[in-house]
Amino acid sequence: MVSQRRRRASAYRWGWGSRLLAAVLIAIGFAFSGAAGALAYFFPAIVTAFQVTGHTINRSAQSPPVQAGTQGLSTADPSQAASERPFTVLLLGSDNDAKFGGTVLTQSMILTRINPATKQVTMLSIARDLYVPLSSGGTDKIDKAYSAGLANAAVTTVENNFHVHIDHYAWIGLLGLVKLIDKLGGIDVVATHPVLDDFYPADLSGNNPYLYQRVAVLPGPQHMGGIQALEYVRSRHGDLRSDFGRSQRQQQVLLAIRTKAKLLGISDLPDISDAMANDFNTDMSITDVASLLPLASAVALETVHQVILLPPYTSSATIGNQDVLLPNWDLILPEVHKYFPAT
């Protein structure tokens, strides 16, 4: 009898302990299983995020970060992008087909100054035909900087010529732009004028990237899909302003993307990352990008300052067999340094 009582008492005491332990284990099990469920959902996005962010570039020795307060403006080192201090990002857009044997030009270069404290953004388009000394050596159109040395060369070339410090870069390929806009369900754009081009490159599909296609984007408000938006921002042959007109349209579409992207939430990350996987990269860290997302939605369109360096900031010329734009640095630099601190 005594031995039975002991066994019962032991079982009773052990039962409470084991029950508590079991409850904790079960709770942990459910927490892990929930985390596993979330991880399975976000895993592709996480992998892509690590692939496309943190592409460190070699900073130019000639353009150290500017000290805060320079010309009334301040800048930040790369790790401070999430802070309240202003910083500069070079946005690069380029084709990513095999037309140029694996190297790509930048169709678009937009120097962007972001002030998180005031929620103000300045976008300065750099014409692709601007004839400048490249960081990789020699003098050529600035769009060739990227093909010579990818983002590092593009950033350094802009820094050296414009005497500004660039905190970060972000590169997007044409297909990435198309896929992003389609994932957003299209964007609404007020097309500024009829964009007609009989020599638009038909290089996004097919085997011959040198073929042409006809493009006609009609003017006025409209809903654009990815391909149509790309035609709108990429065409330049039928525009008297050539690259300048295209730069204005690129800024316009960027703002339209930003307007539509405000609708997205964290659950949309896998789809967006899937769209951008091979067509986007940046030297920003994941935390930098994450900190920029709320800022992007907080910026009002009316506060976005758009700058395009029209003549007399540049003048047309022909060098060799190519049409180029010659920079008038005496005019350009003071204008640029109104918005971007000088180094």
Binding site: I26, G29, F30, S33, G34, A35, A36, G37, A38, A40, Y41, G185, G186, I187, D188, V189, V190, T192, H193, P194, L196, D197, D198, F199, Y212, Q213, R214, A216, L218, P219, G220, P221, Q222, H223, H237, G238, D239, L240, R241, F244, G245, Q248, Q252, L255, A256, T259, K260, L263, L264, G265, I266, S267, D268, D271, L301, E302, Q306, I308, L310, P311
Partner: protein, 343 residues
Amino acid sequence: MRRPLALIVLLALMAAFAFGVNRFFAARKTTIASAAAPTEVHPEVALPGTLYLAQRGDIYRLSNGTFTDLHLPAGIGTWMQPAVVPGTPDIVAVARTAAYSDVYLIDGSNGKILRQLSHNKTATVTIQLWHWMFWPHVAADGNTMVVSYDAPKSGQSYEIDFAVWQGSVSQKPATQQWTQPYSFTGGDVQPLPLPGGRLLYAKYQITGGNVFSQLAMQTNALGDIVYLTSAAADCAQPAVSPDGGTLAMICASGTGLQSTSLVVAPLQGTKLGTAHAVVAKCMCGAPAWSADGSGLGYLAPADATGHFQLWWIAGASTPRPAAPKQVTTGLDFDATSPPAWAP
């Protein structure tokens, strides 16, 4: 025996929880609702007369509160820009392909194609020699017709601009060039034939690096131009009320941003009275007066999808127009195709 069973049940519950968390995030993805076919919806406002509207490559007739699909053959192209042929049940409309567009005469009562009026794909394989033709409109005589046509052009040059051409429904839509476009601007668009043989259209120009449009009027082919609006107002898409006394237009004010205004002004001959915005800071486009002149229809997005819906302003030509009413929901009208309004 009971413990292994409990363990199995617990593991199953954890797996279900993981799956549930995964699906929770998936369910919170932003869904951009796809547009319904017009035939699946009923307009929320009763409108006078019969309207023809374009959506996703097809043209629909709205009459007595019911949409009817004209079932135009998709193999010909993307159908858009319908316009009534006064005094007949017919309409003219554009069928657009990737590299050219043509104007067709269609029986508006049943969608039967009566005749192909233009042949802009020529026998040559050189696509630069093919043509675009948009915005056909037929004069009150039911025969005189105006279109925007990308001619003349060489096929060897990057220059391609729309000029307004006049022709007829009974013969060819473009037999006489009426306007001389500014080079490399996109040209002259959205022509309207007015009583007395006058022509009203939107003329795109570029000055000081800025592109803008002005409403222009001519009384004869390649004749003098009278501008009704200023460059700063940046107005296009003219629509004249049936009595000829009021002009509706879309003005962007040269902002280059993402908004327009729907503006009306009294029109007397070549004089435009004081203009006022009936809808400001919108993505409004494609204004069209009802055939009885009782109000003004236009297209604008109503929600985050960015898809354009039909809106209606009763008494838009009066000093105190009614507030805009949304006529359709969940559709996706082509905002570059103004509604055509028959009695």
